[in-house]
């Protein structure tokens, strides 16, 4: 849909809604931006799926409810300070799709095509995360944010073990990464945004390959139309999502670990590390069966990469961690 005029209009409207919400002074402006974001994203969601509106209705109801909660808590903040801080936190976590408010994200994410899933996972998370950082809820609502970090890590790790739908797997991995992202956010360290940018890059690369090959379920990866080179690149992107060095996804986790080690978040951090090992388990399990067992014998020819973009994706995944250490030296002390 992005080829047409309306597609560009709605996409720009979505981005301007995010922009307006981030830069506004009052809670009303925040709400206006979030509503604009919602209203412009829904047509993009409907377009890809032969006019099936079921994920759109679920998404719309949940997000509208969360926006109204946010506006209500913003409007009543002067009178009921502590309770409303908790309510702001609840509504922003509901908008994010973090645990314990993740069920809508599972339902909606499982019914979308890859492009809409990508926009849902990256662009729609910018505004709630920035609002979480700037609304100052880490003074008042610590118990809920720590609970959300731990539950996101746990559910993102353990929930993906029995999944065959690739979209649901990426939803669970997104949950785990949300937990990791909220750790520097709570400690008021600005690195969470760089983690978010790295996560957007990694998941864009993964979804690019998956939408090129039109794979939606795990058993489709065994078909003969997927050459070995494409499978290798896909597995590299999954491993970088799981956080294996020397791939791209290791660097943000390293910086979060290094910055949280001295602080009281150490217990939290060790739990998150254990949970991300579990996510690595299901990526590795996927990679084992895809890379090593061939269901149909594939004759791999010497012309490895027919598409240039797949080469770029492999290069960024393999070499990205080294180059980004030079760029972000200041965070590594």
């Amino acid at each position: 849909m992005l080829n047409s005029f309306l597609g560009v209009l709605f996409f720009m409207g979505m981005l301007s809604g995010v922009w307006f919400s981030i830069h506004s002074d009052s809670w009303l402006g925040v709400w206006v931006g979030l509503e604009l974001n919602l209203v412009c994203f829904i047509p993009l969601m409907i377009q890809g799926d032969s006019m099936s509106s079921e994920p759109s209705v679920k998404y719309f109801l949940v997000q509208a409810c969360a926006s109204f909660l946010l506006l209500f808590s913003g409007a009543s903040l002067m009178n009921y300070k502590e309770g409303m801080k908790m309510l702001i936190l609840i509504s922003l976590l509901l908008k994010l799709g973090a645990a314990p408010f993740y069920v809508w994200y599972l339902w909606v994410g499982d019914s979308l095509k890859w492009l809409q899933f990508l926009v849902l996972s990256t662009v729609q998370k910018i505004a709630p995360l920035v609002l979480l950082f700037f609304s100052g809820v880490n003074k008042g609502g610590e118990i809920l944010i720590y609970l959300s970090i731990i539950m996101s890590g746990l559910i993102g790790g353990v929930g993906g073990i029995n999944e065959v739908s690739l979209r649901k797997l990426l939803v669970f991995s997104s949950l785990n990464h949300m937990g990791w992202m909220m750790m520097p956010l709570v400690s008021e360290n600005e690195f969470w945004f760089i983690y978010f940018l790295f996560y957007c890059l990694m998941i864009t690369m993964t979804i690019w390959i998956l939408s090129l090959l039109k794979l939606y379920y795990l058993n489709q990866m065994f078909s003969v139309s997927v050459s070995w080179a494409n499978k290798l690149t896909l597995m590299m992107t999954f491993f970088s999502l799981g956080g294996l060095p020397p791939l791209l996804g290791f660097f943000p986790k390293l910086v979060v670990i290094e910055s949280s080690v001295g602080s009281p978040m150490v217990l939290n951090l060790s739990f998150m590390i254990m949970m991300s090992v579990i996510t690595l388990f299901y990526y590795l399990r996927m990679g084992l069966s895809v890379l090593m067992l061939n269901h149909l014998k594939i004759k791999s020819n010497l012309m490895f990469f027919k598409k240039f973009s797949v080469t770029i994706i492999l290069l960024v995944t393999l070499l990205g961690a080294e180059t980004s250490t030079f760029l972000f030296q200041s965070f590594l002390q």
Partner: protein
């Protein structure tokens, strides 16, 4: 008093319904509670109703969007029950 109205509206919104249209109606009840909170409090204290324009226009857009989504649902599935396959 208006926050009590909001809480009741929120409760009504997420109690389980059969029809999608009823959850849209309860969303409008939420909007009504919010409208009272946003425009009647400043009116009673400082004679200002300026922000209600913004609020109402955006809420109307959202309600129209919700209604068109329900229409798509009904066209695809034949009824607007939540549990239809």
């Amino acid at each position: 008093m208006f926050s009590f109205m909001f809480l009741v509206a929120f409760l009504v919104f997420f109690l389980v319904f059969k029809h999608v249209l009823s959850s849209l109606i309860s969303l409008e009840f939420l909007v009504l509670a919010m409208f009272m909170l946003l425009s009647l409090f400043p009116l009673s204290s400082s004679m200002e109703m300026y922000t209600s324009f913004f609020f109402i226009s955006i809420v109307v857009c959202e309600a129209a969007l919700g209604l068109s989504l329900v229409i798509l649902w009904v066209r695809k599935k034949g009824n607007d029950l939540f549990t239809s396959f």
